[in-house]
Amino acid sequence: MKLTAKRLECIAEKAAIDLNKQEEQYYLDELNKIIDLFEQIKEVDTEQITPYYTTEHEQDFLEETYALKAWVSEYLMMPLSVLE
């Protein structure tokens, strides 16, 4: 999905960053190049994969640090308990 000028304006406002017209064009070009790279990940079939941390509320993921902790617990602490 290409980022449009209107959507850029919207996300910049949410991020509390003011952009002038020249900057808008610069970030549109730069971000769209990266978004093209992101498109690659859509091609992988991940239907059977469950990530160890997930989010239900798209607006506040990442604030949920407990979820990250669960991921660490699964991957780092469990093997450790075996070692000890």
Binding site: M1, I11, A16, I17, I41, T54
Partner: protein, 456 residues
């Protein structure tokens, strides 16, 4: 006398005092920093006072750590009490923490002499050290070339002997990539093994703190001090102390080393490829079993990494107040906007959930390989250090991290060691990746490679 080990021996034997050693480093900083720009802040007075205190402690017969009296530097995203911590950003230009980061406190307790805070890409966002508000850092091997990033100030300071060692942070290769470009050792420990308390985050589920040193033994000495459980870091893992020195010289006989075939693709320079294959041959000659392996999902590591880290970084930096339009540089704004984009349109285009699943897939694949092999041998970077202001696209710049990000995705430890140079005399790095908390094994393999690199 370049290594921590040598300096520690010299200080303890009375061959040199910590004060004299610190003075030498401060003179070198005065002479070379104006052109390299490795340091943002030099703490000369405090460094000499600390060195004097160490000399006095030795005179009293106190038993001190191998790091005691040895001059070092910290990346400027590691908080230091009473010393400004800028993260290479205008928005934190005048930020003076009132507490030391745990890693800074541990080093201080071990007697380390802090020479100052070193330059970095703004908030760790960059692979070339060209995005710091405090100016670009030059590669000591060749002025006008990048030192790598984001711990470029650390790598340049160690390579130019402006610091015996340095502490950096690694979110996607930010210790190992600059270490490779500057010709020093750089180690990213297992996620959760070194406290990030007091370290300004870039992406909290990836960030790790680690050493940049002159050789592998020095990396082991520093790790021994900083790898401690810290309840202040929610991700810190409480585990038994590992002796990283004890097995360092035990060699690699019987060890199994894998080389992913997917790493030898277009974009990997012939000279880097040659050094990796040379390292593989040396390991074989030393008794290791070296085999080709496959990690097919590694091709998705870069987009997965950037998708998740930009989103985490955007969330992390949302707490910073002040004039964000003027306070942040272009690279930081780009990543904040990218993270904001992902969050805003996740409902419509669920890239983030897909990236989390891919993270799982890549992690499972890597851990499966590492359950059958002691380590993975790989290039650290596809090429040697490129010229500053080069015409690299953002995507090409990101691809310079292609061999390093998978360790951050999976939380595994990895180390880059210098291995030869290209035709221009620029350093090449080779990388070893190990299983969780297998740092001792990685250091042992790296030490074997380091000591036998001239055997072919």
């Amino acid at each position: 006398m370049k290594t921590i080990y040598e300096m520690s021996q010299a200080i303890k034997s009375g061959e040199i005092t910590s004060y004299e050693l610190t003075q030498r480093y401060l003179e070198r900083i005065k002479m070379h920093n104006p052109e390299l720009n490795a340091y943002i802040t030099v703490t000369a007075e405090a460094a000499l006072a600390k060195a004097t205190a160490i000399d006095e402690a030795l005179a009293r017969g106190e038993v001190l750590s191998p790091l005691a009296g040895v001059p070092m530097s910290l990346k400027d995203n590691i908080c230091t009490k009473g010393i400004r911590t800028t993260c290479g950003s205008k928005i934190l230009e005048a930020f003076v923490p009132d507490e030391d980061a745990t890693v800074a406190a541990l080093l201080d307790e071990a007697g380390a002499v802090l020479l100052g805070k070193v330059n970095m890409d703004e908030f760790g966002m960059g692979s070339s050290n060209e995005t710091s508000y405090f100016g670009k850092v030059h590669n000591p091997s060749q002025r006008g070339r990048i030192p790598g990033g984001s711990s470029g100030g650390s790598a340049a300071a160690v390579a130019a002997e402006l610091s015996a060692y340095s502490i950096g942070t690694d979110t996607g290769g930010s210790i190992r990539q600059p270490a490779a470009y500057c010709g020093v050792v750089g180690m990213k420990p297992t996620y959760g093994s070194v406290s990030r308390h007091g370290v300004v985050p870039l992406a909290m589920s990836f960030d790790q703190v680690g050493p940049l040193t002159q050789d592998v033994r020095d990396a082991a000495l520093v790790l021994d001090v900083i790898a401690k459980h810290d309840p202040k870091d929610k991700m810190s893992v409480d585990k038994k102390h590992t002796d990283y020195i004890k097995t360092l010289e035990d060699g690699v006989k019987g060890m199994r080393i894998g080389i992913p075939k997917e790493y030898f693709v277009e974009g990997l320079s012939l000279e880097v490829r040659h050094e990796v294959l040379k390292a593989a041959q040396i390991l074989k000659d030393q008794g290791a079993i070296v085999e080709e392996i496959s990690t097919p999902h590694i091709q998705y590591a870069i987009p997965t990494y950037y998708m998740i880290t930009c989103t985490e970084a955007s969330a992390g930096l949302s707490v910073l107040e002040g004039n964000r339009t003027e306070g942040f540089g272009k690279q930081v704004k780009k990543r904040i906007l990218l993270g904001s984009y992902v969050k805003t349109y996740e409902g419509e285009y669920p890239y983030y959930q897909q990236a989390l699943k891919l993270r799982q897939l890549i992690t499972d694949e890597l851990l499966e390989v590492l359950s059958n092999y002691d380590a993975i041998l790989a290039p650290t970077t596809p090429t040697t250090a490129f010229e500053m202001g080069g015409a690299l696209t953002p995507v090409e710049m990101y691809l310079s991290d292609i061999y390093t990000v998978s360790s951050n995705i999976a939380g595994t430890p990895a180390i880059s060691i210098p291995y030869g140079c290209d035709a221009k005399g620029l350093p090449i790095g080779v990388q070893l990746v190990g299983g969780h908390f297998e740092e001792a094994k990685l250091l042992r393999i790296a030490r074997c490679l380091e000591q036998n690199k001239n055997q072919i």
